[in-house]
């Protein structure tokens, strides 16, 4: 079982599920890539914690305005119709349930929707940012991640072992091998790579995958 999606391909797959008209927060790093793969013809408005609604792509090198950055401190642009606001308003958008989707990276996700993504435990510098607010605010919480850790251990678990970011909040996980929805405290397999069997997928997933009659093929172009 060597085939797996690259991060860009995982981002592409997640982007296909962005609905037209959605307000979306993309976490810093890997989730930011999703914006690049938004299907044409859908209007998605991106929110960033530091006070911009409807920001656009990075400007060309040399044309950065460092007062116009996203939560990852990267230079962005403001789309026509963008708005600036202070941090309390920004997190009112988050906690007040006004965002449709927030996408995060994760160290671990549990079958009940718990997520751990802010601390690897003692001896490291903890950094939480806006993640603990986002996981309890947006209507849907998506995670994009490799299916396993760098040393091959499952990241989709019965229970998270690392310090939690949020409890029972994740709704969908887009991994390098599968698309898994979380329903009623279970991982429900929606799609998997056609090249691997359900048994092979289960072998690298700690919690039980619920497999219905219809498991779709996870087919992603080379992006």
């Amino acid at each position: 079982m060597s085939a797996k999606l690259s991060n860009a391909q995982i981002a592409w797959r997640a982007a296909q599920d962005l609905p037209d008209g959605a307000y979306v927060n993309l976490g810093i790093g890997f989730p930011e890539m999703i914006a690049k793969f938004k299907p044409d013809g859908r209007e998605v408005i991106y929110h960033t914690e530091n006070g911009i609604l409807d920001f656009g792509e990075a400007p060309p090198a040399g044309q950065e305005d460092w007062d116009l950055i996203n939560a990852g401190k990267k230079a962005v642009t403001a789309n026509p119709g963008a708005a600036f606001f202070h941090h309390a308003d920004s997190f009112s958008m988050v906690r007040g349930g006004h965002l449709d989707i927030a996408v995060l990276g994760a160290y671990e996700v549990a079958e009940n929707g718990d997520i751990a993504n802010w601390s690897t435990g003692p001896g490291s510098v903890p950094a939480v940012g806006g993640a603990m607010d986002l996981v309890h605010g947006a209507k849907q919480i998506w995670v994009v991640t490799d299916h396993v850790t760098k040393d091959g251990k499952p990241k989709l678990l019965k229970h998270c072992r690392l310090p939690l970011t949020g409890v029972g909040c994740v709704t969908t996980v887009f991994t390098s091998l599968a698309v898994v929805d979380i329903k009623n405290g279970r991982f429900v397999l929606r799609e998997k790579l056609p090249s691997i069997s359900v048994e092979e997928l289960q072998a690298v997933t700690e919690a039980t995958l619920v497999v219905g009659d219809k498991v779709g093929d996870l087919v992603v172009p080379n992006v």
């Binding site: 941090h87 939480v128 309890h136």
Partner: protein
């Protein structure tokens, strides 16, 4: 009423040892670098103000801004949400050596605690951090079937703010995403000191466009050629690169 101060040194002269200082900005956007570096200079010359508690989203980057304060040894505690950056050495070294205390606060909770401090609300409930280490020891209550964590207001002795435009009455506008925490911090400190890129006559800022009303502001200094933290970082990085 005239809140204009002639210079940076006068405006920040009474910041003392052990104070709680809110500093506006998110990363480099909105960071009042001239105020921060003037404090660092004063500390290096006189040994004061030291033992400061600094409240900001981050904990500095490289050896610029808040990182320069930490590096100089004048910070006892950081209250922030994200003490990582592209070059977090100043914070990381002191923190892992046990020389710098950290109160880690979820970003939205940090904003709302500061807002509450300015608004006279001693505590509030938020869903953020429920069920996590950051909620340990805090009262929990259920509303409409969901659990929430009680958080307390956050206030400070001083807020240092960077604005785009100010008038002598203290009305402020900001530039783009440089606004971030600044309007909240301006409300939450006993003494709010602003460096503005441009000082204009009262009335020149359309009342419809005022973001921070002057009642929240005590002192204004015009710093017309203020540097941007990110630009400073990049230029110091490219100079260091040229040397090595």
């Amino acid at each position: 009423m005239d809140k204009i101060f002639p210079g940076i040194a006068e405006a920040i002269a009474d910041i003392q040892d052990g104070m709680d200082v809110m500093i506006g900005g998110f990363g480099g956007a909105g960071a009042p670098i001239e105020f921060i570096h003037a404090l660092v200079e004063r500390y290096k010359k006189t040994g004061s103000p030291g033992r400061l508690t600094i409240i900001n989203n981050n904990a500095g980057n490289g050896k610029i801004g808040i990182a320069a304060m930490i590096d100089a040894g004048m910070v006892a505690k950081m209250v922030c949400s994200f003490p990582r950056s592209s070059d977090p050495r100043a914070f990381t070294e002191k923190y892992l050596a046990g020389q710098l205390a950290l109160e880690l606060v979820p970003q939205g909770t940090l904003a709302e605690r500061i807002r509450a401090g300015g608004a006279g609300i001693p505590a509030f409930y938020t869903p953020s951090s429920f069920g996590t280490q950051l909620a340990e020891g805090k009262p929990i209550a259920e509303f409409e079937g969901r659990k929430y964590v009680q958080e307390r207001w956050l206030k400070a002795d001083v807020a240092l703010i960077k604005a785009e435009t100010a008038d002598r009455k203290g009305n402020l506008t900001y530039r783009k995403a440089a606004r971030n925490f600044s309007p909240l911090m301006a409300m939450a400190a006993k003494l709010t000191i602003v460096q503005a890129r441009r000082v204009v006559e009262p009335g020149e800022i359309d009342p419809e466009h005022v973001v921070t009303p002057g009642i929240f502001v005590d002192r204004v200094v015009e710093v017309a050629d203020a540097v941007q933290e990110e630009a400073l970082l990049r230029s110091s990085a490219s100079k260091a690169g040229a040397k090595s």
